[in-house]
């Protein structure tokens, strides 16, 4: 390994003085990682979410994370396994040894998919008949079929997909991104979360800031009424009345600040009130779909009872990204609905129908508006499902090998990357971990996951904990 920069005497001195006792190899590795120097973003207290420079040229400005909560079955959607037909009704070959799954299905018989797979697009990407609309956009996506994760159950796995760790207490991906980059539109929250059903398992900490400043936490948008909690004054308070109240606050605060001019937090708070007021004006319009054409609404499936709710969320996400919102996360089947321990057919038929048109519509719409180039779309759940049957017609959790796809924002379109074994249980080739996903998302946003750090208890913490590699082969 060749050092990127000259090794200064003082630094070597420092290492020696600290008595670290690294061998030659260790030193070389250390040198190679010289560029990974920690560097906390400088937060302007007056504008805590003002856009901040990235570490290097960004390919994407925004992210839309389509979170299929509960764990969609990759074997029935994206990862065809003809071997399952041969072994149908038989257990895994003995060479697999003992396989641990939460419901103890390791020794159960293998269950082939009931769905027809076909290659689609110029890319020839395999997609099953459960996702006919998504099949029409495969030339825009990079399908990765070799993910793995650490958790075996929902709460830990959803937590890891969001924060990097299966244990709670760390900031979410969206919070890190907002902390690192701020956001383009100061009148809307930087990081927006929407759920189509119940709250995701684990609750608000999935978009929480943990030990980052509260400013960077995700803002849940509600489906009906005012999108943000406390966005509007209580009923009966007119805009004029509210504005006068704000002017009074402003006037008294300016008076108070006169003898305290050195304290930027005081002016920051004044600015926060103005931002809140502007948000009041801008947020409702940002999610108002009445301005969209009938054709666009149909594209997202708003005329289809099965998917109109998720379609509306996807369309709102496009409107938000269009307005400069940095990070949008849309849960589909929130509250673990994809979790098909039994009746896989019924469960996935419903959820695929709910997400197929909206997801495909979103990608098409972003593309035709020229937004896809700078918007990274991510589709996936917290894990996949087992090739072994659970009961007679279900599948258990599988964090050992599963599929997710990405589109736009600097991702190579029309490719399939990585493979699982002949049954789709373990990722075997080009294995990639959740940490790698996070490192890659940050990379596309122009952030080096090793340099985006926050000092906590004397330790420079980062999203990817102690791991993570950018998945270069799937990038343009």
């Amino acid at each position: 390994m060749i050092p990127h920069r000259e090794w200064t005497t003082s630094r070597r001195d420092f290492l020696e003085r600290a008595g670290l006792g690294f061998g030659g190899l260790a030193l070389a590795t250390l040198l190679a990682e010289e560029e990974a120097r920690a560097e906390s973003p400088k937060i302007d207290p007056l504008h805590p979410v003002a856009p901040r420079p990235s570490h290097f040229g960004a390919k994407a400005d925004s992210v839309i994370f389509l979170f299929m909560e509960g764990g969609p079955s990759h074997i029935d959607l994206f990862d065809p396994k003809p071997e399952l037909e041969k072994y149908a009704g038989k257990p895994l070959p003995a060479s697999f040894g003992k396989v641990f799954t939460p419901m103890g299905v390791g020794g159960n018989n293998l269950l082939p998919t009931r769905h027809k797979f076909k290659q689609h697009g110029q890319a020839g990407t395999w997609v099953s008949d459960w996702y006919p609309e998504v099949a029409t956009v495969v030339d825009d996506i990079a399908l990765v079929r070799s993910w793995w994760a650490d958790g075996v159950n929902h709460v830990g796995s959803v937590c890891q997909m969001n924060t990097g760790s299966i244990l709670a207490g760390r900031p979410s991906l969206g919070a890190w991104v907002t902390y690192g980059l701020g956001t383009a539109n100061q009148n809307l929250p930087a990081f927006v979360v929407m759920n189509d059903a119940a709250e995701p398992v684990g609750g608000p900490r999935n978009w929480g800031n943990a030990w980052l400043p509260a400013t960077f936490q995700g803002t849940p948008f509600r489906k009906d009424g005012a999108p943000i909690l406390y966005l509007n004054p209580p009923k009966g308070i007119s805009d004029e009345q509210q504005r006068a109240k704000l002017d009074l606050i402003n006037s008294l605060d300016s008076h108070h600040a006169r003898s305290r001019s050195d304290d930027t937090r005081l002016s920051a708070r004044l600015a926060a009130y103005e931002l809140a007021y502007r948000m009041q004006a801008e947020a409702p319009g940002a999610v108002d779909l009445s301005q969209e054409s009938a054709e666009t609404k149909t594209l997202y499936g708003l005329d289809d009872e099965r998917c109109k709710d998720y379609g509306a969320m996807c369309l709102r996400a496009r409107r938000l990204v269009e307005r400069g919102v940095r990070f949008v996360q849309l849960y589909c089947g929130s509250g673990s609905q994809w979790d098909a321990h039994s009746n896989l057919e019924g469960n996935h038929s419903k959820l695929c129908a709910r997400s197929d048109k909206p997801v495909a519509g979103l990608i098409k719409d972003l593309k035709r508006r020229g937004l896809l180039e700078r918007t990274l779309v991510v589709w996936g759940g917290e894990f996949g499902r087992t090739p072994m049957t659970e009961g007679k017609d279900g599948r258990d959790h599988n964090p050992y090998g599963f599929s997710m796809f990405m589109a736009g924002g600097g991702v190579k379109p029309g490719i399939t990357y990585g493979t699982t074994d002949e049954f789709g249980l373990y990722a075997v080739e080009n294995k990639v971990h959740v940490h790698d996903l996070h490192a890659t998302i940050l990379h596309l946003l122009g952030l080096d996951h090793k340099r985006l750090t926050f000092l906590r208890d004397g330790r420079e913490e980062r999203l990817t904990v102690n791991a993570g590699n950018v998945i270069k082969p799937i990038l343009i």
Partner: protein, 756 residues
């Protein structure tokens, strides 16, 4: 943070990353390094040294020993301390700082008028003696203790007795329990005083760990608990970030991987306990008798039911078994412990066929038997619900027995890769001659390990415990620690800006019998603390981060104080102390999943914030907006963000609007003349900020009160929702609603959330 430090920490981070990678290949337990003299002499490991007071020029300024140390560094920097703050500022600062509440106008008047030379010290003593002191200062400790009243993870189950630990902390602080005892009780209360309920409740500190009741990996929960106890204990009491050493020898701090598991083994026997009965002996005996009688009745009835069922059950089961494949019967007949896994699976698979459906059994019964059976089972249903209610009990930690199960070094920190068994012990760098403490199992049937750990932590020869706690107090009082990383005194942490002062305070704490109140008093009576938060431009330019403490920092109130301040000003704060946590209203649309049932009693909903239920998966919204910490991990320092959601919360939430209405109602109720706007403005300022408004403030306020009614008249102002509580007589609804708006604005201004 300086550039140099940023760069240095960066270096440390990737070296840690590297160490993790190297550890990934770990196949054997790592050998223990020999610590170099330099490592052993890291500043925080050196003995506490009480040095002489430094010489200073401005002798007159010095009020306490603290002042000599701080002034000396101010003078070295060529600066001057800020002038003393005025009396109003001082009483507001002190009251918020020591009690988390604003002073009442009467308290302000009394202090401003108190001409005695020791008026300030008297004020400090009064505040330290008030119960509100414990309620305020419990909170930073509860942050450290990652205190919560639910498990976290998916189900987030309620911990119904967790509040007792919160009350224990409040009471211990109010009683000024010496810090060494404070530590000892929390780590080993059950070992030192096995029959004392309070000592047991104190061990609630170690029950704070999050818990996943749905964890399917056998043994993993136990390991997660041990990791949490090890990390939290080291972080809170020793100021050491040991978690790195879980996977490999710590690359910077002299903490070996074996050290980590030595400390972990000090908790090797620990088990959670939830059935510590708090009732007095008489009540317990009575309860036992009632319960025994109840159980006997249930038992008799069950016997009768079983007797009726038996012939039918055996007949039906016999018929069912005949239909089963022979290998199932073979498995069934085996002694359970001799069954193979496959046989267990087989039995599980056929479990349904081997059970008797109650309906089928009833259908098979003779009429007489069915009548008897039905009568008895319906009595049983009633009886099962009517046992004596359980006695009050407490949750905490104890030991599984006097003998601890083995604790293994986990290679690469991987639970599935156990190395050798590690004996309990202490950090090798601080215990060179022997890492093995004197551990004696106790007559209470516990291992004595946690007591030995606590004894070592609080032994005055241990330089960390006293330095860490005085720094935590300093950090809270002065806005930044002498060591700015309060839970990291290791190589990666910051070095003390005033090392001699830190050591002097640490030694003084021990000299004062570990009295925390004595340390508070020392700190807040110092001239340093009494400085104004305003300073001259030159000083600010030369020392923007205030590392010399040449002024007092302005403090943004913490989440709890923001809410308590509003309740206090509105006159609605309920000051009852202690007891089960309360559930104030949540805004509509917040998902509670059954975890938040609003308290019935309105007064309960207005209790102090420290009594609001702490649910891991659902933070109370106003706390969340104002940086209440995540309760899954220990927190040594809260953020103080300023953002738009806070503004929306204070402007638009019913919580704040309701306080504004009560505040307005309170002012009207005490006003001599309700149409005398100037007097109303004066009274509002007095209640909200403890002071009189100046001329300009009065003018701006009056202009608002004059013009706002016209903006309101267009809408219906008869709505109770926008009027003061209680609705004042003799004031037009428009004027009253405008006054609510005015009071609402006062709850929103900077002066309301920042304290000079």
């Amino acid at each position: 943070m300086s550039q140099l430090r940023t760069a240095r920490i960066g270096l440390l981070v990737w070296a840690c990353l590297l160490a993790c990678r190297l550890a990934a290949g770990q196949a054997v337990d790592p050998s223990e390094p020999k610590w170099t003299d330099e490592q052993k002499s890291h500043w925080s490991f050196r003995p506490v040294l009480r040095g002489p007071m430094p010489q200073v020029k401005m002798q007159k300024w010095v009020k306490t020993p603290i002042d000599s140390f701080v002034l000396s560094s101010i003078e070295d920097a060529g600066l001057k301390p800020a002038k003393e703050a005025d009396r109003l500022t001082l009483i507001r600062r002190l009251t918020f700082d020591l009690t988390g509440l604003p002073p009442t106008p009467e308290e302000v008047d009394a202090f401003v008028a108190d001409s005695r030379t020791d008026a300030y010290e008297r004020l400090v003593d009064r505040l330290l003696a008030s119960t509100a002191y414990g309620e305020r200062w419990a909170r930073p400790w509860l942050d450290l203790a990652r205190f919560a009243e639910s498990d976290g993870f998916k189900s987030d189950k309620t911990r119904p007795n967790a509040w007792r630990y919160r009350d224990w902390v409040i009471n211990a602080l109010n009683a000024d329990l010496p810090y060494d005892k404070f530590v000892l009780y929390q780590l080993a209360g059950d070992e030192i005083a096995p029959n004392d309920p309070n000592a047991f409740i104190a061990t609630g500190f170690n029950r704070g760990y999050p818990f996943e009741d749905n964890n399917m990996v056998p043994g993993l929960n136990q390991q997660l608990m041990l990791d949490d106890l090890t990390d939290t204990t080291a972080s809170v009491f020793l100021g050491l970030t040991v978690a790195c050493a879980r996977c490999h020898n710590h690359k910077y701090d002299p903490i070996s991987q074996k050290d980590y598991y030595r400390i972990q083994a000090m908790f090797g026997a620990a088990v959670p306990r939830d059935d510590f009965t708090l009732a007095p002996p008489f009540e317990r005996a009575l309860h036992a008798a009632v319960e025994a009688e109840h159980l006997a009745r249930v038992g008799r009835l069950k016997k009768e039911i079983d007797a009726i069922e038996l012939p039918y059950k055996s007949k039906l089961l016999g018929a069912a078994m005949k239909k089963l494949p022979p290998e199932v019967l073979v498995a069934f007949d085996k002694n359970p412990i001799q069954r193979t896994a496959a046989e267990e699976d087989l039995l599980k698979k056929h479990a349904k066929q081997m059970a008797v459906e109650p309906k089928a059994m009833q259908a098979a019964m003779s009429t007489v038997d069915r009548v008897n059976w039905t009568a008895r089972t319906s009595v049983m249903t009633v009886l099962a619900k009517s046992g004596p209610t359980s006695l009050d009990s407490a949750s905490g930690m104890t030991d599984v027995s006097g003998q601890a199960p083995p604790v293994y070094l986990r290679r690469k920190g991987n639970f599935k890769n156990p190395g050798s068994v590690v004996e309990p012990g202490l950090l090798s760098v601080l215990n060179e001659t022997s890492t093995t403490p004197d551990i004696k199992s106790t007559p209470a049937g516990t291992s004595g390990r946690r007591k030995a750990l606590a004894d070592w932590i609080i032994n005055p020869s241990n330089p960390l415990a006293s330095r860490v706690i005085v720094n935590r107090l300093w950090h809270e009082h002065f806005g930044r620690g002498i060591v700015t990383t309060p839970s990291d005194f290791g190589v990666q942490g910051a070095e003390p800006t005033h090392p001699e002062l830190l050591d002097w305070l640490a030694s003084e704490l021990v000299a004062q019998g570990w009295s925390l109140k004595a340390m508070h008093r020392l700190m807040v009576t110092s001239a340093v603390y009494r400085q104004s938060s305003n300073s001259d431009a030159a000083t600010i330019e030369q020392d923007p981060e205030n590392t010399t403490f040449a002024r007092m920092p302005r403090r943004r109130l913490e989440a709890e104080a923001v809410r308590d301040n509003m309740l206090m000003v509105s006159g609605r704060l309920d000051r009852r102390i202690g007891g089960p946590s309360v559930f104030p209203d949540l805004p509509p649309g917040i998902e509670t999943r059954g975890g938040w049932t609003r308290s019935d009693n309105a007064a309960d909903r207005n209790r102090r914030s420290v009594y609001v239920f702490v649910r891991r998966n659902l933070k109370y919204p106003i706390f969340d907006a104002f940086d209440f910490p995540d309760t899954n991990l220990t927190c040594s320092e809260r953020n103080t963000s300023v953002n738009a959601p806070q503004a929306l919360m204070l402007l638009n939430s019913d919580l704040v609007l309701d306080e504004a209405r009560a505040f307005a109602g309170r002012l009207y109720a005490s006003a001599k003349n309700r149409s005398d706007l100037t007097s109303l403005v004066r009274d509002s300022y007095r209640l909200a900020f403890g002071r009189q408004p100046d001329r300009e403030e009065i003018e701006r306020s009056l202009a608002f009160l004059r013009d706002q009614p016209a903006r309101l008249s267009g809408r219906s102002t008869g709505k109770a929702a926008s009027l003061p509580v209680p609705i004042p007589d003799g004031v037009s609804p428009v004027q009253a609603a405008a006054f609510v708006d005015y009071c609402h604005a006062l709850l929103n201004v900077n002066e309301f959330v920042f304290v000079d």
